[in-house]
Assembly symmetry: C2
Homo-oligomer: 395 residues x 2
C-alpha cells in the first residue's frame, strides 16, 4: 500500500469553490494513516519547483471552513503550462520530499501536467499516484458531466442578467453584457436562466461555438428593438468571425499564448459602437458591461450543488488515491436531473488532459443567437433556486 | 384634511431597494382613508405627461413583497429633468385626475421636479402635497445622513473587492476596478470595507473629490508593487484632472448633459495602459474591470439596514403627507453608529433639490489615494456584516 506525503496545489483561474475542493481533500487526507503529512504548494507548479510549501496537517477545522467558503485559490494559483524540463524538476522535488500523493486542482492544462508527471514516475518506477481534481468556470473539461466552479459562476451570471434585465426595463435601450468563456459558451449560455416570464432578457445570446457575424448581430438587435423597444444581449468574450479572428481583443497574450480577452472593455465598446451605428439618428441608449473577474470570485454567490460537489470531488480523489494507489482525474456522472443526483468516478488523466470541450450542438438554437430547452434542463439543476423578479410591466 | 388620489413614480438610476421604498409607500397609503386611490406612474414624469398609470390599490401583498425584493424600478424610470413647461403639463394632469398626493422616489433632480410642481400648486392654490423619497447609490443628497440604495451598492462593491483581492493574491499583478460615482466617491470609498487583514486590498482608492494625477498614480502603483508584489486599485469612474476634465470618457452625453462614464471600459483600459507603460519590460500582469450596472441592480446583495430604511422612508413620507399635508423630502438622521440606530425627518424640498453633495474632507486621506478611519466608522454599520475571507498567505 502506497504510503508517504501528500502534496496539493491549485492552478489556473480562480473559482468560487476551488477552495472547497482543497478543504475536502485536506480533511479526507487527514483521516488516512498512509498519508504521513499534508503539504500545500504555493502557486501550484511554480511553488513546487521552489519548494514553497505550506503545512496543511495542522490548521484547525474552523479555519479550513473559512477557507472553503472563500473564493479564489487559497494556496495561490499559477498560469504555467510546464514543459518536460519543468515537469522533471517537479518530479525531482517529489522524490526529494517523499511525496507519494499529488493532487492538482485545475483545468485541462493541470490534468496534462499531472499526466506528464505520472508518466515520469512510471518510467522511474517511483511508487506514486497523482490525481487531477476538476475545476473551471468554463465547464469545458471532457468526460465529466460538468465542472466544479461552473455552477457558481453560472449563478452569478444568471443573477446579474436578472437584475440587469430589470434595469433595462426601467430605463430602456440596448444593453450588451460580455461574459467570460474563451472557447466554450457554457457561462454565457447560463444567462438564459434569468428568463422567468415572456419578454425577459437576455433576448440574444451569442456563443463562441458559432461564427459571430456583425451584420447579423445588428439585424438581430434591430428585430428585438422593433418587437420590445429594448434589448439585452449576452455575448461571450470569445466570439470570433468566420476566420476564427476574435471580434475584439487587446492583443495581449498570456503565458499560455492565449489572447487576453478579459479585463478589457474592448469587445463591449466595439459592439456598442456597432449598435449605435445601426440606429444612427434614432438616439437609442446603448451600454455595455464586461462582467470580468466578478464572475469567478464574487463571495457569497455560490450554488449549493456546486459547493457540495466541489468538496466531494476533493475527498473522492483522496479516497481513490489511498485505496487504489492509481492516478486519474475525478469526474462527475449525473444520475438524474429531476430531482438532481450525481456520483463521482475516476477517468484516465489522458482522457481529460490537453484538449478541452465545448457546448454540444443540441444546446444551441439553430438561429445561433439563443440556447435550447435541452440546455435549460441541463444547467438549471446545477445553479439551483433563483429569486422571483416582479414588476408592473405586465399589469 | 387633504383627501384625494395618490400618485407615485420612480426616477433616475435603479437601485437594489428603490422598490422597497415604493412598496413601503403603497402599503402605508392603503391604510389611510384620505387616500382614495393609489396610482403608479410608468417611467416617472414621462408617464405622467402621457397619463400612463398603473393601479396600485389592488395588487396583492404577496406580489408587492416580490416587487420589494426586486432590484431596479418596478414602475419604470426616466432620466428627464423637466423644464417649466413640462412641469406645468404634469400639474395639469394632477388637477385632471384629482391627484392630491404626489410621491417621487429619486435623487436631487427628482427633488427639484417635486419642488417646482409644489410651487405651482401653491400659486394655483391647489390643495396638494408632494413628497420626495430619497434614492441614489451615489449617496450624494444633501441633509440626509445617507441615501437609501447606497448601502446595498456599497455592499456589492465591498464583496466584489473582497473576492477580487483574493483573486489578485492567487494570480498576482495589478488589478484596477472602476466603480460608479460621477462626482461623489462614496461608492468607490466603500471598497475599503473589503480590508480585513494587513495587506488586504484595495491598496489604492481614487475618489472624484480629489484631482487625479496620472504620474502620481503610476508612482503609487509602483510603490505598492514594490511592497507587496501585487496591487488592487479602486477608482471612481468620475476621476478628473486638475482642469476638471474626466480622465477617460466615451464622449457621449445623456439627456442631463452629463458625459457617459458607465457602460464603457474606456477608463479601465486607459489606466491599464498607463500601468503597463510604467512597468514596461517587467511583464507585470495588468487587468481592469468596470463594475458597471451590476453595482446598482444585482439581486440578493442587499444591506439589511438599507432594505429596512428604504421601506420605512416610503412609509414615513406617506404618513407625513397624510397627517401634515405638507410637502418635503424624507431624510435620515443617524442616532448612533454602535449599535446602529436612525430616525426619519422631513426637510424642505429646496434643501435637497438641485445641488448634490460629495464626500466630506474628514473621510479622505491626506495622501488623496485612500480613505480614513472616520469613513469606515460611517459606512460599516450601513453595509452590515461581511463574510470572513481566509487563505494560506499569512501562515
Amino acid at each position: 500500500m502506497l504510503k508517504g506525503k501528500m502534496l496539493i496545489g491549485q492552478s489556473g483561474g480562480p473559482t468560487a469553490v476551488i477552495n472547497a475542493s482543497l478543504v475536502g481533500a485536506i480533511l479526507e487526507a487527514r483521516r488516512h494513516g498512509s498519508i504521513t503529512a499534508v503539504l500545500g504548494a504555493r502557486h501550484g507548479i511554480a511553488g513546487i519547483m521552489k519548494e514553497d510549501f505550506v503545512d496543511l496537517t495542522t490548521p484547525s477545522v474552523e479555519f479550513l471552513e473559512n477557507v472553503a467558503a472563500t473564493p479564489a485559490a487559497a494556496l495561490g494559483s499559477v498560469r504555467l503550462k510546464p514543459g518536460r524540463e519543468e515537469c522533471q524538476k517537479v518530479f525531482e522535488v517529489f522524490q526529494k520530499h517523499d511525496v507519494r500523493f499529488f493532487f492538482y486542482i485545475g483545468g485541462n492544462d493541470s490534468a496534462e501536467t499531472a499526466y506528464i508527471i505520472s508518466e515520469m514516475a512510471k518510467e522511474a518506477a517511483y511508487d506514486f499516484c497523482t490525481v487531477h481534481i476538476p475545476k473551471t468556470i468554463d465547464n469545458d473539461l471532457r468526460v465529466t458531466d460538468h465542472c466544479p466552479g461552473f455552477a457558481s459562476a453560472a449563478k452569478f451570471v444568471a443573477l446579474a442578467f436578472m437584475g440587469d434585465d430589470r434595469d433595462n426595463r426601467a430605463l430602456s435601450g440596448v444593453k450588451i453584457n460580455v461574459v467570460m468563456g474563451r472557447h466554450a459558451g457554457f457561462l454565457t449560455a447560463a444567462s438564459a436562466l434569468a428568463r422567468q416570464s415572456e419578454g425577459d432578457g437576455p433576448h440574444l445570446i451569442y456563443l463562441p461555438e458559432r461564427v459571430f457575424d456583425t451584420e447579423k448581430f445588428k439585424q438581430d438587435v434591430r428585430a428585438v428593438m422593433d418587437r420590445l423597444g429594448r434589448c439585452v444581449v449576452a455575448v461571450s468574450e470569445g466570439v470570433a468571425d468566420a476566420n476564427g479572428q476574435p471580434i475584439a481583443s487587446s492583443g495581449e497574450r498570456d503565458s499560455h499564448g492565449n489572447v487576453q480577452l478579459s479585463g478589457t472593455g474592448a469587445l463591449g465598446d466595439y459592439l456598442s459602437a456597432l449598435v449605435k451605428e445601426a440606429f444612427a439618428g434614432d438616439s437609442v441608449r446603448v451600454r455595455a458591461d464586461t462582467f470580468g473577474y466578478l464572475q469567478r470570485s464574487f463571495p457569497t454567490i455560490v450554488s449549493s450543488v456546486d459547493a457540495k460537489e466541489a468538496r466531494e470531488v476533493g475527498a473522492f480523489g483522496v479516497q481513490h488515491a489511498v485505496h487504489m494507489g492509481e492516478s486519474g482525474s475525478v469526474a462527475i456522472k449525473r444520475e438524474s436531473s429531476q430531482p438532481y443526483a450525481s456520483r463521482y468516478f475516476m477517468t484516465p488523466l489522458a482522457s481529460v488532459a490537453r484538449e478541452a470541450t465545448e457546448m454540444r450542438a443540441e444546446f444551441i438554437a439553430e438561429s445561433s443567437n439563443d440556447v435550447t430547452q435541452a440546455w435549460i434542463e441541463y444547467v438549471a439543476p446545477l445553479v439551483g433556486d433563483l429569486p422571483t423578479m416582479a414588476g408592473f410591466d405586465g399589469l
